[in-house]
Structure formats: structure tokens, C-alpha cells
Symmetry: C2
Subunit: 505 residues, 2 copies
């Protein structure tokens, strides 16, 4: 074995052990959000703090730094598209970021966000912003320190954004939003004068919880999510988490009087799960077996949730299936009505339940507020007012209380600043991918109308999943689609679908 191979294998071995600890941490967090007893939270935060600190120490070990510098100078590093090159590039990117953060800050953040999330759950239930404000103040303070350390001379907010989306810049995202906002507001105006507005009758009915739970399991399995390598649970704020190469779990929530909420949330998380299950398990926990970016991750979840799950052919297949499996709940409906209701576009308060047209305006609000929180223009105590003012301005709606406003999302309690913009990047990527898949695979509508999703999943595995972090996200999408980053396909797709749903064509 050459010296290069020896050093590479040493880092692989160490990184695999780090991944096992990350999986144990993910286990503790999954349990915190599902089954942990009410009084277990403070100690759980202590455990998470300890493990986070241990993981950080491993990620920033001086020995690792020396090994990585030697690998960086090797011929393997020259070709990022090879697994070895991708591993070296990914490790270096992560190491250089992590060494900027002192262990005490990492542990303080782990503890503050673990307690912060518990406080957020309680504050949201109690609809009490004041219970959460001190937590958010502490969390924002800690992340300001992180952003300063990571950003060095550059824009601190870009440093946060880059954590989740390699190479992304606030200025680029701003441009994207500017184009999208104009196009989407124009589309909303068009829809306002439509002859046939969906009325949401498909969801306005009580569907018992066990039926919703079974339907969610069924639809996740139907699009290819493997329950031998995953499971579905319930939680306050749906998410997807990976505990090991054959253990990727999705979590959803149900509302008894809104079937769409749980059903689409499951499709969304199952989309994330399919990406994780499509990564190469041989490289589990290493860059070649890891997701390319959060934007790419979100492209997968949004693709299955919206581009597939809100399409007309999907409901031509799905509704008869639901009617047959759970007779009595949907007898009065036809597929076209459900398709229309699944595409009702109107300003609303809750991001995760927003339609595809207004969704990006929700993201825009968080993106603007985050930048202001981090450049010092906005204080945490003024954030609820700014939130409400922004919702009024962009969406024309006003939350009655914090629960439907600033307390609706888990992200800030978890310290996920710079994360929201990746949702809109995900929508943009998904539209580009879907257009390319249709070009490559031909008539996907006929397949969907038969409940055949395997060809699309295979295409995504081939074009996206199996590459892990072998390419920077924009390059990965460019290679898969043959196109530069563009929001045009997203606008085209929305316009075409919505004009059908609203009877304009």
C-alpha cells in the first residue's frame, strides 16, 4: 500500500467512526422529537452537548489537519469527480470550516439549540413568544459569533449560507428571488380572474388518524421509500434524519380535518428519504456517500411532494386507490377536483402548508429577516413585529398570534440560519430536474397515472443520488440537466399547471 493510500485509509477509518457518533447524536435527537418522556429534556441536552463536543474534537483534530494537507497535495485531490477526490475535497472543506470554531462555542450552541427546540415546542403550544424570546436571543448571539468566525473578511451571512449550500451567495439568492417575486405575483394576478377557482373541498373533511397513518405509509412505500431501511413516525415539525446507512427515518404530522397536510408532509419527507436511501452505502458518512447540499436535498423532497404529488396524473392513479383502500371518505370526489384542490394558490400564514406559488414568498421573508438579524439591522425583540409587517407586505395576510407567525418554524430554535434560502433553490433545482427527466424519459404522465414511479426514481438515483458530494451542487444540477441555474423552468411549470387547474386553458 502506498503512503498516500495509507493516509487516506486512516482518514476514512477515523471519519467512519465520527459518522457513527453523528448517528448516535441523530438517534438522541430523533428520540427527543418523538418518544422522550416529558422530563427527559434537560439531561438529553447535556448528552447532546457532550457528543457534539466530542464530534467537533474529532473533526478538528490537529492530526487530521496534517493528514488532510498531505492528501490535498496528492494527485487524488486533483479529480473531485472520483470518490477519493470528492472525499478529500469534502473533508478539507469541512475541516477548514470546523477549525474556525472553538469547542466551547460548539458545545454552547449544541446545548442552546437542544434546549431552544424544547422551549420552542412548549412556546408554540402555549402560543407565547415571550417564552421563546430569551432562547432565540441566546441562539442568535451564538450564531453571530459563529458567522463572524466563519466569514472572516467576507459577508457573515454568506458564511452561514455556505454551510448548507456550497458556493451560494446572498446576492445570487436575492437575484433569484427578485425574478421569482415578479413572475409569481403576476401569476397570482392572472389566477385571480380565473373562471374556475379550486375551493379546497377535497380536504375539508374529517379523516380518522389511523386512516391517515396508513395512507401515509402506503404513499411513501409507493414512491419507493424502503421501510426495511427506514420508518415513519410523528412529531411536531416534520423532518428526515439519517442514523446509519440502512436507517433513514422520516417524521410527519397529521391534522384530523386536513388530510393534505399530513399526506403531503409525508411525501415531502419521503422525497428526502429517497435521496438518503439512494446514496452509496459503501461511502456512508464520507463525502462521496453524502448529500450534495441542502438545496439539492430539497429538490428531491419538493419534486416528489409537488411535481409528482400535485400533478393531474398522480391523482388519476391515487384517488381510486384511496377510495378502494379506505372506502367512504372520498366517494364524492373525482381526480380532477382533487388535482385542482391540490393546486389552490392563495396567500396564507403557514409556510409548510403554503402552495407552490406563494411558498417562495414565505422563504423570502425569512431570508430578509435573517440577513437583518445578522447584519444588526433587526433585534430579536423586534422580530415578531418585522415578521408581521413583512407578511402583510408580501402576502397580504396577518397572523393572529405568534403560533401562526414567528413561532411556526423549528429552524431558528435549532440554529438553522442560512438554511431557508435552500428551500427556494430546491424548488428551482426540482423544476430543472423534472424538465430534464421528461426530456430523457419521455411521457412521465402516463407512468404516474399508472402509479409507476420507479423510472423517475432510477433517473434521479443515476443523475443525482449516486454522485454524493462528487460535484459542487450547481455543477451537479448542470450536469444532470444540461442547463445553467435558472428559475425559468420553475415559472414555466407553475404557469402551465396552474392555468389548467384554474380552467384558464
Amino acid at each position: 500500500m502506498s503512503e498516500l493510500e495509507t493516509v487516506f485509509n486512516q482518514v476514512v477509518h477515523s471519519a467512519r467512526d465520527t459518522a457513527k457518533l453523528e448517528g448516535a447524536l441523530a438517534m438522541l435527537e430523533w428520540d427527543e422529537h418523538t418518544y422522550m418522556p416529558a422530563h427527559g429534556g434537560v439531561y438529553r441536552a447535556d448528552q447532546i452537548t457532550l457528543l457534539s463536543g466530542m464530534i467537533h474534537a474529532r473533526r478538528t483534530a490537529p492530526q487530521l489537519g496534517e493528514q488532510l494537507e498531505r492528501l490535498a497535495a496528492s494527485p487524488w485531490a486533483a479529480d473531485r469527480s472520483s470518490p477519493q477526490g470528492a472525499a478529500i475535497a469534502g473533508w478539507l472543506r469541512d475541516y477548514r470550516r470546523f477549525v474556525k470554531l472553538p469547542q466551547d462555542l460548539v458545545e454552547a450552541i449544541a446545548r442552546a439549540t437542544s434546549l431552544g427546540q424544547q422551549a420552542w415546542v412548549a412556546a408554540r403550544q402555549a402560543d407565547s413568544w415571550s417564552d421563546f424570546q430569551p432562547h432565540l436571543t441566546e441562539i442568535v448571539g451564538l450564531y453571530r459569533q459563529e458567522a463572524q468566525l466563519l466569514g472572516e473578511a467576507g459577508n457573515p451571512y454568506d458564511a452561514l449560507l455556505d454551510k448548507y449550500e456550497e458556493g451560494a451567495k446572498a446576492v445570487e439568492v436575492t437575484q433569484l428571488f427578485s425574478y421569482l417575486r415578479n413572475q409569481l405575483v403576476d401569476l397570482l394576478n392572472t389566477l385571480r380572474s380565473a373562471p374556475s377557482t379550486p375551493n379546497g373541498q377535497s380536504w375539508q373533511r374529517e379523516i380518522p388518524l389511523p386512516v391517515q397513518q396508513q395512507a401515509s405509509r402506503w404513499i411513501a412505500a409507493s414512491i419507493g421509500y424502503d421501510f426495511q431501511r427506514g420508518r415513519l413516525d410523528e412529531t411536531a415539525h416534520p423532518f428526515c434524519t439519517t442514523l446509519g446507512p440502512n436507517d433513514c427515518r422520516i417524521l410527519t404530522r397529521y391534522h384530523i380535518d386536513d388530510f393534505a397536510s399530513g399526506f403531503y408532509s409525508t411525501l415531502h419527507e419521503a422525497g428526502h428519504g429517497l435521496y438518503e436511501q439512494g446514496l452509496d452505502p459503501q461511502w456512508y458518512g464520507l463525502p462521496p456517500g453524502s448529500a450534495a447540499s441542502l438545496g439539492v436535498h430539497e429538490s428531491q423532497s419538493r419534486l416528489w411532494e409537488n411535481f409528482v404529488g400535485r400533478s393531474a396524473p398522480f391523482w388519476q392513479w391515487c384517488l381510486p386507490q384511496l377510495k378502494q383502500q379506505y372506502a367512504g371518505y372520498w366517494d364524492d370526489l373525482d381526480a380532477n377536483t382533487v388535482f385542482k384542490d391540490a393546486n389552490l394558490a392563495q396567500p396564507s400564514l403557514i409556510r409548510v402548508e403554503a402552495d407552490e406559488v406563494t411558498y417562495n414568498l414565505h422563504i423570502l421573508i425569512r431570508f430578509e429577516l435573517e440577513q437583518e438579524l445578522f447584519n444588526g439591522q433587526l433585534s430579536v425583540s423586534d422580530a415578531p413585529q418585522a415578521w408581521n409587517e413583512r407578511y402583510q407586505r408580501y402576502l397580504g395576510v396577518q397572523a393572529r398570534s405568534a403560533k401562526d407567525g414567528i413561532l411556526q418554524d423549528v429552524h431558528w430554535s435549532a440554529g438553522l440560519f442560512g438554511y431557508f434560502p435552500t428551500y427556494t433553490l430546491g424548488n428551482v433545482f426540482a423544476a430543472q430536474l423534472m424538465a430534464a427527466a421528461q426530456r430523457d424519459l419521455g411521457d412521465l404522465d402516463t407512468a404516474f397515472a399508472r402509479g409507476e414511479f420507479r423510472p423517475l426514481l432510477n433517473w434521479l438515483q443515476e443523475k443525482i443520488h449516486r454522485h454524493g458530494r462528487c460535484y459542487p451542487p450547481k455543477q451537479l444540477i448542470q450536469q444532470a440537466t444540461g442547463q445553467e441555474l435558472s428559475a425559468q423552468p420553475l415559472v414555466n411549470y407553475l404557469r402551465a399547471k396552474l392555468e389548467v387547474a384554474y380552467g384558464l386553458v
Copy 2:
């Protein structure tokens, strides 16, 4: 702060962090037995191996050894009944044991038993001894090494026994069994000529799973188990596990056609849970806040399961409650009939479902086989035959297959050799404790008949729980009861109760 205090606090700090990792390990194992996806097992074993190795490295760190030697020579060490003295004594006992075991053996054991338990579940389902045999061979081989290393000049099996029961010796347990066997066989003979044998009609009825689940939650809460600091789940082999100072979980199993199985298994595990919940959370993870021994632990579970849960006054209270909450399942029964059926004593195949009289004979069989496996008299491949021969000899019954024979218990797949005898010690302790509680508290029967269990729980907390490991187990029981170790109270109790149940008095 004195130098002594400084060193003591350093060890406390380090031991608390070790306990957090032990809690993370317990989390991974709890999940392995409940919710882990089917294909998650191999990686889970890798994670458990890594964490076990890290914990072992912390427990055997040379710096810790030096600190402990300094503490051992301090005045604090002289008084084990103080929390500081108990901490030092407990740490020393553990350290001196752990340093005898090399890290590679600890990791090999962790991996073999994690895979072994998964293999046991599958082999038990498939009723296939041959699927499990290679795993058990490997596990016994590893524990033979451990026993050699721990036992040094002494008896290797005593070294395993001492892990779970400080100071216990095989020769003493053998004496106890010898007395018990004679007395219990005599009692069984007496019962055979009884005029009124229970017929088990109370359990021979289908009780739907949701009713059993709710009844289990209710009875656990009724005896004082705190669901804010715990939870109840289902698994193949019931157990109780502690993940943190406010997170002690119990696990049970249900059979639709045998209500007693799940109900008593829940009472048993809740008894363990009450002990854990009664330990001092301030000393969590340290000897003064840890259970005294497995025998003492088992005394708590058996006390609630049998001495309380199979008593006549318990059913005078419980049956009307069950009838009221879940009408229609028990309408034909009266409390005396259920009491009698709860005390049906007859030789059977499954230990966890054995009655109180024959239970100790099940333990005797495992105790004998374990000693033979470890002194080389018995090979793993011959174990099923020896198992069946011993059941025939002591209980007069013969398993139809491995599932009801050697594959019935999780213990050997988990490497818990030396553990079984603590079950009989638990029965002996429980009888001594119950006699003392009745002496101190007066008429407990009237309290039980009213569903009042708090006085007994308070007494146990005061006499047992709050002392943690401040006394060696036999001394703890002696202090609580005023009696030396004796199986006489157990025999007296069984004879008195069974003579009533069988209409002999």
C-alpha cells in the same frame, strides 16, 4: 477547596460524562429492541461497539486510576455509608474490574452481543437453534476469556456472578437453592392433593391489544411509576432501561389470549422502574445514585409483580377497576377466582411465565448449565440436550422445540452469564423486605384492597432506593429488614398464600 475535594470533583465530572455516554448507548440499545428498521442492525452493532470501547477507555483511563488511588487513601473512603465514601468504593470496585479487561475484548463482546441479540430474535422466531448456535459459541468463548481475566486465581464463574451481585458466591447460591428446592418440591406435593385447584379461567379469554396496552399503562401508573419520567413500549423480551435521571423506560409484550402475561410483565418492569425512579437524581450515574445490585433490583420487580400483584387484596381492588374501565371482558369473574388463577402453581416451560413456586427451579437449571459451560463440563453444541434433560428432571416437562426451550431467554445472547442467580436472590430479598414492611407499616392488605400503594413505595424508597450503592447488597437488606439473608420468609410466604389459593386452609 481542599486537594481531596478537587480530585473528588474531577472524578465526579468525568464519571458524569461517562454516564451520559452510557445513556446514549442505552438509547441505541432501546431503539434496537423497539423501533429500529429491519436492516439497521449491522451498523447499529458497529455504533454500539464504538461507544462501548469509548466508555471502556474512559473507565480504565490511567489518570482515573491514579485519582482513585489517592481517594482510596483519603478519610472519605473510610465511611462507605456517606455518598462520598460510597462513590469512592463503587468507583474503585468498578475500576479494578474494568482494568482487567483489554479494550479489544470489550469491543468484541459489544459487537458479538449486539449481533447475537439480533440473531436470537430471528432464531427464536424461526424456532431454529442452529441459527443461534454459532453466535452463542462465540459469545461464550469471549466471556470465558472475561471470566478468566476477572477471576484470576478464584472461581471464574464467581467472577461473573460478582459483576451483578457484589460479594455473591456460587457456593452460597447453591446452598440457597438446595434449601429452596426441598421446600418447594414439598409445597408442590402438598398442592397436588388440594381440594380446589385454580383452573386458569381468568386468563383464558381474548383481550384486544389496545385494552391490554391501556390496562398496562394504568397499572404501572397506579403503583407509582411516573410517565413524565418514563415510558412503556413493546419488545420481544421485556426489560427496563435507564437513559437519564428522568428517563427510565420499561418494555413489555402482549399475548392476545393471555392477559396475565403482559399485565404481570408490565408490573414486573414497573417495579424495576420504581427503583430507578427512586434513586437520587443528584447522584445520577454515580455509585450513590445507582442500584445496589441486580438481586436488589429484582427484589423490587418481584415484590410488585408477585407479593403485591398476586395478592388477594390486590385483586379485590383491581378487578372491579378493570371491569369498570373495560366492560365486557371480565364480567363472569370474581376477585377470589382471579387471585387463585394468579397463583396457579404448576411446572411449565417458560421461565418468565412461571409461577412463584416453580420459578426458582427454572433459575436453578440456568445456574447449573452456566457453571458447566464455564468450567468446561458442557459445550454449547450439547447445551440444548442438557437443557431438555434438566427440565425433565427438575420440572417434569419437555420443550417441543428450541423456542420454548433454550431459545426462550435473551440473557445468553446478551452475554449476561452470572445474571440468572440474582433472580432467585431477588425473590429471597423481596420476601424479607415484604415481611419487614408489614411489620413496620401494619396492615398492608387493607391498603392494597383500596389501591393504596404509596405507603409501601415510600417505605421502599426510604429503606432501599435512596441508599443507592452506599451499602453492599446483603448489608442493605439486613439493615432494611433486621434479618440476615434467609430463604425462610420466602417459603413461609409462599406456603401461606398458596394454601389459601388452593383451599387448604
